[in-house]
């Protein structure tokens, strides 16, 4: 059966002064609808590049990405991106940031009232209704990322792409946001690709963990299916044998089989 999202033998080369640099080599990944997939690897291994190719921001040199039977080769709201540093427009309030996205995606499809409800609904989803009229500079990093997620969700994407969404946050805020994300995921059952370098985050959130080898010419080293029952509770899992087994698998992959040569 044809998979929902098919990253088909993707390679990418970047031109440099010393000839082409092969960042990714033969990345092959099939994702089901509603699956939550994490891509993990050392920094510089090209995990963000994979996401940018799916997002259409980069063009694969070889191979391609097929979403619902159609090849994608340009960015679009069906593959909404949550950027690492939130990337909210600093001159717009939280509400207006989501509004800009909703207005350009649903122009002609939703009435004014429907759009307003849809914006409010998505802000409610990330628990930010109390601060929707604040500028990004007036809210904390975690709140900004919540709005970033609301903006992406409001585009009703077929695939939600998240580029180290919680990487810039402190550990406690990160945990809060992970819990919120799991809550939203239970409700919406989106197809998600998340880039991360946090082992716990990957095991906690994912159905599937894709582990990447080190670059150049990085590729998928191993794929781990996480079969923990949902809903998952952070506290219960802390002492769970199965959870710790998955965790140690990823750690062994990262620090034994594909340890970075230079620290």
């Amino acid at each position: 059966m044809e998979k929902y999202l098919n990253i088909d033998h993707v390679s990418i080369e970047f031109p440099t002064a010393n000839g082409p640099f092969k960042a990714l080599d033969n990345v092959n990944l099939k994702i089901d609808k509603g699956e939550f997939v994490s891509i993990i690897g050392h920094s510089g291994c090209g995990k963000s590049t994979v996401m940018n190719i799916v997002g259409g921001l980069y063009q694969a040199t070889e191979g391609g990405v097929i979403l619902e039977g159609k090849e994608v080769n340009e960015p679009g709201p069906d593959r909404a991106i949550v950027f690492q540093n939130h990337s909210l427009f600093p001159w717009l309030t939280a509400y207006e940031n989501v509004e800009l996205a909703v207005k350009s995606v649903f122009k002609g499809q939703k009435s004014k009232q429907e759009m307003k409800e849809w914006i409010d609904h998505n802000i409610e989803l990330v628990h930010m209704t109390h601060a929707k009229d604040k500028l990004p500079a007036e809210i904390s990093g975690g709140m900004k990322q919540r709005i970033g997620i609301a903006r992406a969700l409001a585009m009703e994407p077929k695939v939600l792409l998240m580029d180290e969404p919680f990487g810039a946050l402190d550990a406690l805020t990160r945990a809060h946001l992970q819990d919120s994300l799991m809550e939203i995921q239970t409700e919406l059952n989106n197809t998600v690709i998340m880039i991360t370098h946090d082992v716990d985050e990957a095991v906690l959130l994912s159905d599937k963990i894709v582990m990447m080898t080190n670059g150049p010419a990085a590729t998928i080293g191993d794929v781990l299916d996480v079969k923990l029952a949902r809903p998952r509770k952070r506290l219960d899992l802390a002492d769970d044998a199965e959870y710790n087994h998955y965790r140690s698998e990823v750690i062994h992959f990262l620090h034994e089989r594909h340890a970075r040569k230079v620290a």
Partner: protein
């Protein structure tokens, strides 16, 4: 109320009024007096020292037009110039009154009589000249901005275009207005031919010279501001599939507003400097021409009158900068940025 007033002073940059406001509303007087001494006392003291040095220094230099004027003579001449302005306005007023009386009599005699009102053609006063200068610099500056901002945006978005126009900018930027003037004068004389010209040629020449010299800072700052936009913000626009025009208006312009205004401020400052030189040569009846005429006139008061003009130019330049600063603060999204 109090916070509102303070906010107004903060936005306009007249921060030295803030302690006064707080003092009046009864905010710990001692702290406010200290702030006041720091913000007003020190500059005031420096200004008085400057006046003293000027007074002593000026008395020591004697030119063919007499002693270099000190603060006292300059103050006197400033008042004379104001009196001359008032006298001239009075004359003008009477001139029109006489005409109206005459016309009224004519109409009383013969209701079908043809009535003419002749414009007053008295000489321009100092305040008229200030007005002319302000209008000229404003026109030149607006034209320059209307050219520079769009080009800056487009070339900031395209590396190719930027490298195409960059050498031209670098070559034209350092050119003195005095070098442009003869060319502009000749071109204006050749091209701007009309039976009933709306503007005088001197005005057009001066304004164009201002435009030519005040284009560059806005252009460069806009291009740099646009090209340094956060890539991710542009990527958000790409994900939303915004059109080029929408991207420019929704993302590019708002995020480069601070840099655009930095450029505009520098441009207006340069434009104001250039204008005085342009008016001298082009004989546009503004402050530049005033200075030149007084220099040619060579009376014993000329130096004082020129000094009045010099100070006027400085103060207006300062006020123009303040206006731009206020607009910059008003339009910038980052209200907390320190802008000087």
């Amino acid at each position: 109320m109090k916070d509102k007033i303070i906010n107004v002073f903060e936005v306009t940059g007249f921060t030295w009024f803030i302690p006064l406001v707080k003092l009046v509303t009864g905010d710990s007087p001692q702290q406010q007096l200290q702030d006041l001494a720091k913000m007003v006392g020190i500059p005031l003291f420096a200004f008085i020292v400057f006046l003293g040095l000027w007074h002593i220094g000026a008395a020591k230099v004697v030119t063919s037009l007499g002693q270099v004027p000190g603060p006292v003579q300059v103050w006197e001449q400033a008042n004379v110039l104001l009196d001359e302005h008032n006298a001239e306005r009075e004359k003008e007023h009477k001139f029109y009154e006489r005409q109206e009386e005459r016309n009224a009599k004519k109409l009383a005699k013969n209701p079908d009589a043809e009535i003419k009102i002749r414009p007053y053609t008295g000489k321009e006063t100092y305040l008229d000249q200030i007005r002319t200068s302000l209008i000229t610099v404003f026109v030149g500056f607006v034209v320059a901005s209307l050219i520079a901002i769009p080009i800056g945006i487009v070339s900031g978005l395209s590396d190719t275009l930027y490298s195409a126009i960059n050498p031209l900018i670098q070559i034209f930027k350092p050119i003195s207005p005095l070098a442009w003037l003869p060319i502009v004068t000749m071109v204006v004389s050749a091209v701007y031919v009309s039976e009933d010209p709306m503007f005088s040629k001197a005005f057009i020449t001066s304004a164009i010279t201002v435009t030519l010299c005040s284009l560059w800072p806005t252009l460069i700052n806009t291009a740099v501001g646009v090209s340094s936009i956060d890539r991710d913000l542009i990527n958000v626009g790409r994900v939303l599939r915004l059109s080029y025009i929408t991207t420019v208006f929704k993302i590019v312009i708002p995020s480069s507003i601070p840099m655009i205004f930095t450029g505009l401020r520098i441009s207006l400052g340069i434009g104001w400097m250039v204008l005085i030189a342009a008016e001298m040569l082009a004989q546009n009846p503004g402050l530049g021409k005033f200075v030149w005429d007084e220099f040619q006139n060579g009376s014993s008061n000329s130096l004082s009158r020129i000094m009045v003009a010099v100070l006027t130019i400085g103060i207006i330049g300062f006020l123009l900068d303040r206006v731009m600063l206020t607009m910059q603060k008003f339009f910038s999204y980052d209200k907390n940025a320190v802008i000087r």
